[in-house]
């Protein structure tokens, strides 16, 4: 029983860590195919990581511990989140700790560490990227928290395992206005948090537009590998969380190995599908101008707020 729970946690972390580069590779490949290019193949991110990890660690002159620690912090917080969040099973030893607010805080910790690292380099790009990244983060965090509140009201708890478990038992609740609005708000927030289009373009190095890339411009070698891995893991975890909240079917609510195996397969399939859809959509999207980003985020904030009010008043007691 407990062993299976532990196995589930381990499986989640391993799957996220190993699968995140593959997810990124899949998305790039889909995009390449839709744009009429051959594409480097699904495994390319892994090959990049391997190449970077073999290189010598170099840090810019004058940088301090903030710069060195940020990649580690980013990867480790994301790994902890991957362990906490009920991606494949709701009955794990740590599921009692899987509070939505804690998860948001852990993700924010990684973002802040990266922003500090950007400032630490003292270059123009680092500072600019950090400032932009913090602006976006400041707008995204309230949205995520509000959406979390909206989702937690019907379940009566901010524990993710409880919320997801409720969703599995009572699928009607997912289609309620509150559930739909909160999911939409979370989706926008996830796009912003992971630096995808239309908020940020992950594949640009144009100084006018980059946000995430500007912060990590000074990294090289193994540090860069960790930063890349961290970013990919965040995308994987957040997409996984989104599927768990919006389409929780197949998540193991009991501690049986068969259910766990099925849940892991389904999780892979769902996240891959969502990633593919996102990549396909990104082909058609243009990046928003930076001063239009707050509009998008204010909109998602509004959606989250409407979700809260709706869950309180529409069907509420």
């Amino acid at each position: 029983m407990r062993a299976i729970g532990t196995a589930a946690v381990a499986a989640q972390v391993v799957l996220v860590t190993a699968g995140a580069p593959l997810l990124a590779g899949t998305m790039r490949q889909v995009r390449a195919r839709l744009e009429g290019r051959a594409g480097p193949g699904v495994g390319q991110p892994w090959r990049d990581l391997r190449k970077l990890l073999r290189k010598e660690a170099i840090t810019p002159v004058g940088t301090g511990p903030a710069f060195r620690l940020a990649p580690l912090l980013l990867v480790s917080t994301t790994a902890v989140v991957a362990a906490l969040v009920p991606l494949a099973s709701t009955t794990t030893p740590v599921s009692g700790k899987a509070d939505l607010i804690l998860v948001v805080a852990l993700l924010a910790l990684g973002t802040v560490a990266l922003a500090l690292a950007g400032l630490d380099t003292g270059t123009a790009f680092g500072g600019m990227g950090a400032s932009r990244g913090m602006t976006v983060a400041a707008l995204v965090e309230p949205t995520i928290l509000l959406a979390a509140v909206a989702l937690s009201i019907p379940a009566g708890s901010t524990n993710l395992a409880t919320i997801v478990g409720d969703g599995v038992r009572d699928p009607v609740r997912l289609a309620s206005p509150a559930g739909l609005l909160a999911t939409a708000a979370l989706a926008v927030a996830v796009l912003a948090e992971t630096g995808r289009l239309p908020v940020d373009n992950p594949s640009t190095h144009l100084e006018l537009t980059m946000v995430h890339e500007a912060m990590v411009l000074e990294y090289a070698g193994p540090d860069l590998a960790l930063v890349e891995l961290g970013a990919q893991m965040r995308l994987a975890v957040l997409l996984g969380l989104l599927t768990s909240l919006a389409a929780p079917w197949g998540i193991a609510t009991t501690a049986s190995p068969a259910a766990l195996a099925l849940a892991l397969v389904l999780l892979t399939a769902k996240v891959a599908l969502l990633g593919t859809a996102l990549a396909a959509a990104e082909v058609f999207w243009a990046k928003l101008r930076l001063f239009r980003v707050p509009e998008l985020l204010a909109g998602s904030f509004l959606l989250a707020l409407l979700a809260v009010t709706a869950s309180y008043f529409l069907t509420g007691e």
Partner: protein, 231 residues
Amino acid sequence: MNDSVYTQLLDLACGAFLLAAVVVLWLRQLSSIIRVFALQGAVLAALAALLGVREGRWDLLAVAVGIGLLRAGALPHIVRRALAAGTPPPARHYEEDNSEAREARPLVNVAASLIGAALLTLLAYAVARPLVELDPTPATRALPVGLAVVLIGFFTLVTRRRALAQVVGFLLLDNGITATAFLAASGVPLIVELGVSFDVLLAVLVLQILTTRMRAAFGGTGIDDLRELRD
């Protein structure tokens, strides 16, 4: 139709209704705004039909059809025609971004007005407390949605600087009132409903003609140009 399905559908319709109002506030392109407004009209008709089926009143279904025709068909059509009259087709593809078809500079910027809409929604919930407490049913619980749309419509009317955006604001206000009537008491008596719909139709026609005249007199439909009369 059992209770939970009815409640679910009702809540969905109300959610979509409110969402459409918010999206109107979010968008700038007037043609998209009108499309969303038409969608809202359709949702309103669906809401009326749902109540009609629930109460087994077939006259409500007829009213729902009428509402759908008026608010998802005729009114958006009139506004769209007024818009098309003012925006000649672009000569080159890149020229389509002319100021007539867009709400370029609202009095309150879009991000702030979205936050404003959030506050207005909360206000509507606060104001509607006594209404819900009088007779708590699934329909009256959704009354704040109607009031919120009224407030958002008023907000649009006050802050938007294009004549047609103001018209849409007025229509949002009116949609909100109709929704309130349906949620509170399954609609006002038929003769009143007919008269009100007729009045709204005429008012929009009048506003359409006035837009044409405004274009002739001012060369555009910006409300900010209206500054001949002041003390």
